[in-house]
């Protein structure tokens, strides 16, 4: 049985119908997969099947270490969302629970090439002049 229910699948198909531009999901796992890696990969495969605009690329963290390095990936499972370029979006772990909705919103934002942040927030962010390391911890409740 699939990880996404028939009802959710239908709703997602509807939502994805209006995706304006393509989104590439790059995922890093490894040959002998950790359980989280496998479950994440299977979930992403189901998501990608729902729209022609969503392309999934799965890579091996160990065998393709150089590629992982260019994306700055140091742990798996890792998900990168790419639009016209790499916007720096990284999702580590499995987008399960409520994080699934957040993940879908990310796909929409990347497809629309629009971060959906108010202009005053963008204006403040444009003033960040040195690298800042922020990690958001979540639990899939």
């Amino acid at each position: 049985m699939g990880k996404i229910s028939e009802k959710d699948r239908k709703q997602l198909k509807d939502i994805f119908k209006s995706l304006p531009q393509s989104v590439k999901i790059v995922m890093f796992t490894q040959e002998i997969e950790c359980e989280h890696c496998r479950l994440t990969r299977e979930l992403l495969q189901e998501v990608a099947e729902l729209s022609e605009k969503i392309l999934l690329e799965v890579h091996d963290f160990v065998k393709e270490a150089d590629l992982a390095k260019t994306y700055n990936i140091d742990k798996i499972p890792a998900i990168i969302l790419i639009g016209d370029g790499d916007y720096g979006i990284r999702f580590y772990g499995m987008p399960a629970g409520y994080e699934f909705t957040t993940f879908i919103q990310d796909i929409i934002n990347v497809s629309q090439r629009d971060p959906k942040l108010p202009h005053d927030v963008l204006a403040v962010l444009s003033k960040v002049y040195k690298p800042v390391h922020i990690q958001v911890m979540i639990s899939p409740t």
Binding site: K3, I4, D8, Q11, L12, I15, S18, P20, E35, H36, L39, L43, M94, P95, A96, G97, Y98, F100, T101, I104, Q105, I108, Q112, D114, K116, P118, H119, D120, A123, P140
Partner: protein, 329 residues
């Protein structure tokens, strides 16, 4: 490990697309209150190319709790009604830019340029201007300093902060009495202060408020100063007949002294009346061909949701007729 499952909450997903900058839209709708949303539904059904430019969705409806006079709903939570409006509009997949105010609208030849505060410009053959109103500020010493620190213009937002506290409401109309109802719910001690003699609110509201024990009415009085260290602590009120002044210790002041039209973006373009409202005729036409206006920002009296929604629908149909008659579509 078992798969923990996924939760898909479609109500929180934002799907709206931004309008394109390089397109000449048939219609640009400025604002997204009931006037705008109703206009959008009518226009979208005509299959014309349109976009919405707004700061928020819902407008002034976001400031109230219960609505009891929108046809079809004896009583509906304002947030729910806004959600229903939004859902209806969003079903048409109309591109919208939100979060950035429109700064100015200009007309050149047969089309309009709409300039946003962040420098973005959108172009349209017609514009429906529905920016509503904003609160009139209380201009007394201390009136600006304590906004958000005891001075509030939104009871729905702030009343819960003043449970069991002592508050003043300034104003005598429906908004002041609705504010009183919000504060009655949190058991506040209330003093209603009105500049004018007597009270202008609807009788039904007055009756409801007057039943409350911890409310005092002071008409023909005015606030002349608000005082406090880091937040509101007291204010000075003056009897307008006798000139007598007294200090009242207070935790909060809710200001409901009327609204002013948000007509600044068109003030150099269309005719406004003395109140600054956009003058419209019965077809929602302004003094500029192709620019239509609806809702609270216009000279049409009785600022209400159902009236704004009706006017919005009319503006959209009128703009559509204009596009057809002038062979612009």
């Amino acid at each position: 490990m078992e798969f923990p499952g996924i939760i898909l909450d479609t109500s929180t997903i934002i799907q709206i697309q931004k309008p394109a900058r390089n397109i000449l839209y048939d219609m640009l709708i400025v604002g997204a209150g009931p006037a705008a949303m109703s206009a959008a539904v009518y226009a979208a059904r005509k299959m014309i190319n349109l976009a919405i430019l707004t700061i928020d969705f819902g407008g002034l409806m976001n400031e109230t709790t219960e609505i009891e006079n929108y046809l079809g709903f004896q009583n509906i939570n304002a947030r729910d009604l806004v959600s229903r409006f939004e859902e209806h509009v969003k079903s048409f997949e109309i591109p919208a830019n939100y979060g950035v105010p429109v700064k100015e609208i200009k007309k050149k030849d047969d089309f309009f340029s709409v300039f946003l505060e962040d420098g973005t410009v959108y172009s349209g053959r017609t514009v429906i201007f529905t920016t509503g109103e904003r609160h009139r500020e209380l201009r007394v010493p201390g009136g600006r300093d304590f906004v958000g620190k005891g001075i509030s213009y939104c009871a729905t937002c702030d009343a819960p902060l003043f449970r069991d506290k002592k508050v003043i409401i300034i104003g005598g109309g429906n908004s002041a009495f609705t504010t009183a109802l919000d504060l009655i719910r949190v058991n506040a001690e209330i003093i209603l202060v009105n500049l004018m003699k007597e009270w202008q609110a609807d009788e039904i509201l007055k009756q409801r408020v007057k039943k409350y024990e911890k409310i005092h009415f002071l008409d023909n009085h005015e606030i002349i100063r608000i005082e406090g260290k880091d937040k509101v602590e007291s204010c000075i009120i003056k009897n307008r007949d006798t000139g007598e002044e007294k200090r009242i210790d207070i935790d909060a002041i809710f200001i409901e002294i009327g609204l002013l039209p948000n007509s600044a973006p068109v003030k150099n373009l269309v005719e406004l009346n003395e109140e600054g409202e956009v003058i419209v005729d019965c077809l929602c036409r302004t003094s500029v061909r192709g620019l239509f206006s609806a809702g609270d920002v216009t000279s049409v009296p009785y600022k209400q949701i159902i009236i704004s929604a009706g006017e919005g629908a009319k503006a959209a149909l009128s703009a559509y007729d204009y596009l057809v008659r002038t062979s612009l579509i």
